[in-house]
Symmetry: C2
Subunit: 222 residues, 2 copies
């Protein structure tokens, strides 16, 4: 069986899990503690990062950008990157928005400070970074809400990888109770729609050792 | 004429300039001081980042990832992302290597600390970050040299976007005199090959106000 090497709270791994599940491509999950720098894993990805997708025939694809582009090329039946050049540019702009901008301004300041630092024994969360993260999240939820209100899905008329990238970051932050959903009702409504899709089930039943998610995490009518 | 909004020392803009020039797609450069947050530019890219490519018909593409994928789809004659699924995964893995890993471990610690901070009036370079940048560059040049020795080009038999991503970061750092080329002869030889391509000419004649590059910067036999 196809294997996805992952870390449960990594938004980049979650994006790939959602894309695989939406495309109905079966896979097994394997936890990879990248900080242990396992030599067998280095052979699959010298960058020592997850996600890495290992196909049945031994073909390994490293990096969430490479994996998602690969999935749409190798399994095109349910396309997630749009059809026209214009749609595809908009999907990719928004994937970059969430994976770069949102990640640097929000996810890194909250998830890394509160969760990864503790896990890796790298000291206490930085209070200034966390304040910046909460402040930035406000603007990002407003932008997401504006997109969700003006379009059927974030990048346009079709569900796309842009929705999965956004939902991946927000679901990781929601797991540690850090999304203030009352900041944007349209963003909350969009996330409720995402959560109720079958592809989301795996994420909602995930539990990370030592971290209990808030009650609303897996609640579809949160 | 097609316009590329850019900042001269941004490696992401340089990657797109190299891709456009290699594909022989004509374009005009326009300097965009993103920190001035020009409203007309926000309409092209609400993230306020460069590069943004504006096509003649008014179609704007934001983000270097979206632009490069677009270029290979819209102008496929000279492909830069590989042909087979395996080649394409390897090109994209390496683009991510340089745009994420190299950028965070090297470019950000040197170019941002020494150049951008001064330009934006954000204080003095952080000595610890710069030390880390030089230290990390050593490992990266070794890896690049290993790739260049074992393959015709970084991602395999064909010149690809992986070469342009790597050359973009290194050329920005070379402009501020921060690449220790004696650390890896194969990396230096590969860069000499890149520099002598016609597509590189624009980068080598660029001059940034207030920053004089070292003498070897535009020298093809450096």
């Amino acid at each position: 069986m196809r294997i996805l090497y992952h870390i449960p709270l990594s938004p980049f791994c979650r994006k790939v899990r959602l894309a695989l599940a939406e495309k109905r491509i079966p896979f097994d999950l394997r936890l990879e503690r990248v900080w242990e720098r396992r030599p067998e894993f280095e052979a699959l990805n010298p960058a020592h990062t997850v996600p890495v997708l290992l196909e049945d025939n031994g073909f390994a694809i490293a990096d969430s950008y490479a994996i998602c582009e690969y999935l749409d090329e190798a399994y095109p039946d349910i396309p997630l990157l749009g059809r026209t050049l214009g749609e595809r540019a908009e999907v990719r702009r928004l994937v970059a928005w969430f994976d770069d901008k949102f990640h640097n301004e929000v996810t890194r300041n909250l998830l890394y400070e509160k969760q990864m630092k503790r896990q890796l024994g790298r000291g206490n969360p930085d209070a200034a970074a966390m304040r910046a993260g909460y402040q930035n999240m406000k603007h990002h939820l407003e932008y997401l809400g504006w997109l969700a209100e003006s379009r059927a899905w974030l990048a346009g008329a079709q569900l796309s990888l842009a929705d999965f990238a956004a939902a991946a970051h927000l679901s990781s932050l929601d797991y540690i109770g850090d999304v203030k959903w009352d900041l944007s009702e349209p963003a909350r409504d969009w996330y409720a729609r995402m959560k109720s899709r079958p592809c989301f089930r795996g994420l909602l039943t995930d539990r990370v050792s030592g971290v209990t998610p808030p009650e609303h995490y897996a609640d579809l009518d949160f």
